[in-house]
Symmetry: C2
Subunit: 314 residues, 2 copies
């Protein structure tokens, strides 16, 4: 059965019937628009487009993984503001001959990641297209706290991250080389697991700035440093060893894994700055300092080259 | 200059610098997510995907018109809930060799339609793709009123519409036939003008159900009738004569324009049901009755065929 067989309305009905509904949903799927509660009179909103062949490949990832990843990258953006994800709107364009089973599995993956973040699917749109395109919008709730932007880092703050770094990039490198192990890295590439809870908790802990690491740690710290008009110095000695990354580097004949950690995107870790005296829960790892100045340093030296990192072979 | 020349970040910066910012925007373009005010502790949200070659053609419409139309269809969905449009998030995918000038004009069109509706662009995303794809999400404010869904129509209510019907479809027919006149219809196809104000005003007037007419009046009244579990009977004698539509029908050798009025989408008129005793402002035209039963009738007869209309030659 293809999407064309069901038609737009039949397809939406079939999908919507299976989705959970949240008590934050005033009006859900099936009307002109959704209506959601916004208890503190503000709403966090972010949108991303994912294009087949650029952001995902149907031969490398299952439909459920593609859906989960699309959801994750948007939900992580909400968390990176210090907010709790509440709802997704999902735009889905696909060739008419796409199997409904594939699309159902995609939605299952989106819904599963939503559930992990405490959100639900509240609406969407379906269209024909030559290839699969996903447009995901996430909405979130700041629960009365100020949003944590990229712009508040202060000289003297520490830089910390929560989640994992480099695993998705390593997994992609393994896939590209046709290597099946470490399987945990391939899984991390197919389905990242952002630490959603860490976002609002960072806000409550007094984070001064925060960003979702989607372009790579150096690039995203560069965005943060620029927005905050500060310099960020990353101390690579602070990164915990990751045996899976080391194994992948060895399997691929690379000198080490630091390159993935510093420049790999798509893990959707959160990077945040905190006042230096703040006691942080164990899932935050302090990896650097904020100083007067500009740009991103690695171990005190200006990082250069792609994404500000010179790929000097780890 | 192409989008690839500027890169994603350069492109976004160039665009964002020109956009107006609303006092409803707590955090605007350039962070992980936008933050907007939601004064009555609810937010209306809707999303649509527009795919080149399916929803628009670059050779038939200017970039500004494509942008305005993409914005209009989402803003109209917000208005159809009885809400005031507040903000758009715009996902934009395009080939890297697309001229920045085209993309700028697109955004100018989106921003102009936002201004018409009282909204602003608060965020977005940019991606590469083989063809142009727009993913527009609109957010709105119910201003303390209940949302007007599709499901509240009651037997005894009247059916009314605000805006125009059939002009976009007639304009498309003229374009397809290579006819330049009536120019107002071609303009209506390129850039519909939904009556945004009529949505919240209908809510204040006690509308029992409302829908954005995007699939055609018969089809959308069918959605409303089904959601409300009622029957809608449209009296075609109530439609005001439209000289431009009559001229287009004559130019195309068609017996009349009623087919466009009943089945043409994309004008984004609003159709709503009201208690029969309600005095309606002049921009609402009563065109039918709500009764017990199901489905849509035209002049008391069950409409059949495409979109519930048998195209019996007007």
């Amino acid at each position: 059965v293809t999407i064309s067989d069901l038609g737009e309305f039949g397809f939406i009905e079939a999908i919507a019937a299976e989705l959970p509904r949240s008590d934050r949903t005033v009006v859900g799927i099936g009307d002109d628009a959704a209506v959601l509660t916004a208890p503190d009179s503000r709403v966090v909103a972010t949108t991303d487009l994912l294009v087949e062949g650029r952001h995902f490949r149907r031969d490398w990832s299952s439909a459920a993984d593609i859906g989960a990843k699309a959801a994750a990258q948007n939900l992580a953006d909400v968390a990176a503001m210090g907010a709790v994800p509440v709802a997704l709107l999902v735009g889905f364009a696909a060739p008419g001959d796409l199997a409904v089973a594939w699309a159902r599995e995609l939605v299952t993956g989106i819904a599963a990641e939503c559930a992990r973040a405490g959100a639900t699917i509240a609406g969407g749109d379906v269209s024909g297209a030559g290839s699969v395109v996903l447009a995901v919008t996430a909405l979130g709730d700041l629960a009365g706290r100020d949003p944590v932007t990229r712009a508040g880092a202060q000289p003297g703050d520490v830089l910390a991250y929560a989640g994992v770094l480099g695993e998705s990039a390593a997994g992609l490198a393994l896939l590209e080389a046709g290597l099946p192990r470490p399987a945990s890295l391939i899984a991390a590439h197919r389905r990242p697991a952002p630490p959603y809870h860490a976002g609002p908790e960072a806000a409550a802990l007094g984070a001064t700035a925060m960003i979702d690491v989607s372009d790579g740690l150096l690039a995203d710290c560069g965005h943060l440093a620029r927005a905050s008009r500060v310099q960020v110095d990353i101390d690579t000695g602070r990164f915990p060893g990751d045996p899976a990354l080391a194994a992948a580097a060895a399997a691929l004949g690379r000198p080490g894994a630091l390159d993935w950690v510093l420049t790999g995107g798509e893990d959707h870790a959160l990077a945040a700055t905190f006042p230096a005296d703040r006691e942080l829960p164990g899932y935050w790892t302090v990896i650097g300092q904020v100083r007067k100045g500009q740009g991103v340093l690695v171990n005190g030296t200006a990082a250069t080259g792609r994404a500000g990192w010179n790929h000097f072979g780890d």
